[in-house]
Each structure stands twice: as C-alpha cells, then as structure tokens.
C-alpha cells in the first residue's frame, strides 16, 4: 500500500477516505481534520485558553498533543477517580505525557478533596458508576474551567463516540439529548463552553495517532464500564462501516446538518430556568446541585474495593 500523498510506504489505510497514508501524511491528516472541526464550529478562537479533560486514554492524550502542536494554549485537567489500579495507571500516563511536553497539568483527586471515589460514591448514592463518574466530571471540569479563567473545556470525544451516542438517542428518541448533541455548546449561565475537536476523526485513527507519536496511553478498559449498550452501538456501526465506509461520518454529520436544529428548542428554556446551588453556586434545577448531594451521601460511606482489571470486549 502506498501513501495517497507521497506514494511512500503506507502505515494505515482509512477506508472512509478511500486512501492510505504514510506516518507523516497521516499526522497531517489528523491535524487538518482537527483544524477543520475547530474552524467549522468556531470551537476555539485565536488567543483563547483551553482546558482539556484528560483521562489517560488515547483520545484525550491525542487531543492534548494535537492542540499543543497546533500552537494552542492548552492545559490538562486530570481527575483522580479512585478506580483501583486502573486510575493509578491512567494517572501515570497523563503525568508522563505532561512532563514530556512541558505542559501544565492540573490534578483533582476525588478521594483527597471530596472524600469519595467513584465505586464508593456510586454505591452510596445508588447510581450506576458511569453516571456517578459523569456527574463528577461535568461538575469538576466546569468548576476548574471557570476558576482558572479558561475560555473552553475540550474533551476527546471522537466520531465513533458521537455516532454511537446518536444511534442510542435516535433508537429511543431521546429528544432532549438529541438537542444537546452538538460539537460545541456555548458558554452560558455558569457553564463554560464545551468543545469536541476530534469529531472528524475515528477511534481507530486516534489509537494510530498515539502509536505514531509514541504516546503511551491506557489501553485497558475501565473495570466499571457499564459500556455494554454503548459498545453494542459501536459494534453495530462498525459492521455498517465495514460494508459501507463513511457510514458513521454520514450518519453524524448528516444529523448535524439536517436534523439537529429541530431538537434544539428545549435546551434554551431549560437553561434559563436554572438556579444557583446553595452550597457551591453551580447552576442547578433544584436548590442543591446533584454533585453536592452526591458528596453528602458519599461522606463517611464504607470504601468499596476494586479487584478486577479490564472489562471484557
């Protein structure tokens, strides 16, 4: 196989682009696609400061690397979730990356600063671990971005993530989620702007990017991943993609261009109706926000130990 651009030996084939690429031109493709996503959706403007939610996985580390390479002022925020060895290893990858790039990393440890970890908080609050985790991440990323004066929070969601979420939301017609499923959510009412610069790149490309750039990342699955349903959507989409390359891209970008507008009306009204949390000041529909309620329930709960490693695929 030969590179589409220089005819040198290829290292990766991307059937969606009907092309193969050498290492150099593959990296250029990743940068170009990221730049296009940022420009098309006005994600980050010149001179703005970005806070990247880094987990130690391929997507967030690739995103951090890409933004730094492209000259953005991008710091990382890592949350210590306290999920056994998985979190310890993930933190190691994040710190090693930050150090190698001389990049600024902010760390927040849930157990040290808020008195709980994900497994314990989930049990105490009787929520699914991923729901507890998602709630904690949203709250703490928003807060860190506002406290640190960042213009935007960037996450590593890629095309596969977005297409899988879209499939799930369409299958069950979750109108309110469909209205929010955008590559950019504007800042308002105490929420910082949220951007997803990797939406034009697939999951396979992000893993390949890390290998080519020599970035070590957490390959194992989080042992708490409730993933089954989400993974099933990804599998289904990859089956379609194999038969019809470009299917995921058409599905997601077709939705953004032709359908997403119709679901947007509900968001604005909802956001305008928010109050300030009595304890922390975060925007919330009730008097005390869901995060503060979680912290309260988890306080003093018996810690849950994680023994398993790596979920099944």
């Amino acid at each position: 196989m030969k590179c589409r651009v220089c005819r040198g030996p290829a290292i990766i084939d991307i059937r969606r682009h009907n092309a193969n690429f050498c290492a150099e031109h593959f990296l250029k493709l990743c940068r170009d696609q990221t730049a296009k996503a940022i420009a098309d959706f006005d994600m980050i403007l010149p001179g703005e400061r970005v806070l990247i939610a880094v987990s130690g996985g391929k997507d967030s580390l690739a995103l951090w690397d890409l933004l730094l390479e492209m000259g953005y002022d991008a710091d990382g925020l890592y949350l210590g979730l306290g999920i056994g060895d998985y979190s310890d290893d993930s933190g190691t990858y994040v710190r090693a990356f930050a150090e190698s790039r001389g990049a600024r990393l902010i760390e927040v440890d849930l157990r040290a600063e808020y008195g709980y970890d994900i497994p314990t908080g989930a049990r105490a609050a009787r929520r699914a671990p991923c729901s507890t985790c998602g709630l904690s991440k949203r709250h703490l990323f928003d807060r860190a971005a506002l406290d640190g004066g960042y213009d935007a929070v960037a996450t590593g969601h890629n095309l596969d993530d977005e297409a899988a979420v879209l499939l799930g939301n369409v299958l069950h017609w979750h109108d309110e989620y469909l209205g929010r499923q955008l590559p950019v959510l504007a800042a308002r009412n105490g929420f910082p702007r949220k951007v997803k610069p990797l939406v034009r790149l697939g999951e396979r490309e992000m893993a390949a990017y890390c290998v080519v750039r020599g970035i070590d990342y957490q390959v194992d699955e989080c042992p708490m991943a409730e993933g089954n349903r989400h993974l099933a959507y990804k599998d289904a989409l990859n089956m379609l993609e194999k038969r019809s390359p470009g299917a995921k891209h058409d599905f997601y970008f077709g939705f953004l261009a032709r359908a997403s507008e119709r679901f947007r009306t509900t968001i604005d009204a909802e956001q305008d109706a928010l109050l300030e949390c009595e304890r922390c000041g975060a925007p919330t529909p009730s008097e005390i926000c869901a995060f503060c309620r979680l912290v309260e329930k988890a306080a003093g709960a018996q810690p849950v130990t994680i023994t398993t490693r790596g979920g099944a695929v």
Binding site: A10, D13, G57, L135, E203, D220, D235, N238, V313
Partner: protein
C-alpha cells in the same frame, strides 16, 4: 508467530506467513475496531507477517459513560 490480544490480555500462536487482513478475518475481528502493531510500528492491512513476527492486535473501541456525552 505470537499474537497479543487485549481485554483480556492473552497471547496466541498463529502460523505464518499470513497477511494482516487474513489474520483478522481468521480471528473474526472487524478491521475497523483494531490497529495492528509489529514491534512499535503500525502496520497496514496488506502486510504479510512472517512466522518469526510478534504482533499486537489492539482494540480501539472504548466503552464508558454515555451519560458524560449527552448533557451540558
């Protein structure tokens, strides 16, 4: 050749020579869901693997929270 698989981590023996594509088909792995690494290099689907090679078939699909991706 030795083939490393992940989640869970395990190693299997496969007779070479065989192309990456054929190897994936034999193992019933969708090429869209993995990358294949020999040494520390990424290798494309038409590469022919020799008996003496050591390769890793690394899944690229992560699960996790749907929840974190849909709310503001």
């Amino acid at each position: 050749m030795k083939v490393l698989l992940r989640n869970p981590r395990r190693e299997i023996d496969v007779d070479g020579p065989v192309s990456v594509n054929t190897l994936l088909e034999r193992l019933e792995i969708n090429r869209e869901s993995v990358i294949v690494i020999r040494g520390d290099e990424l290798i494309p689907a038409d590469t022919v693997l020799a008996d003496s090679d050591q390769v890793e078939i690394r899944p690229v699909i992560s699960g996790g929270a749907v929840d974190t991706q849909v709310r503001p």
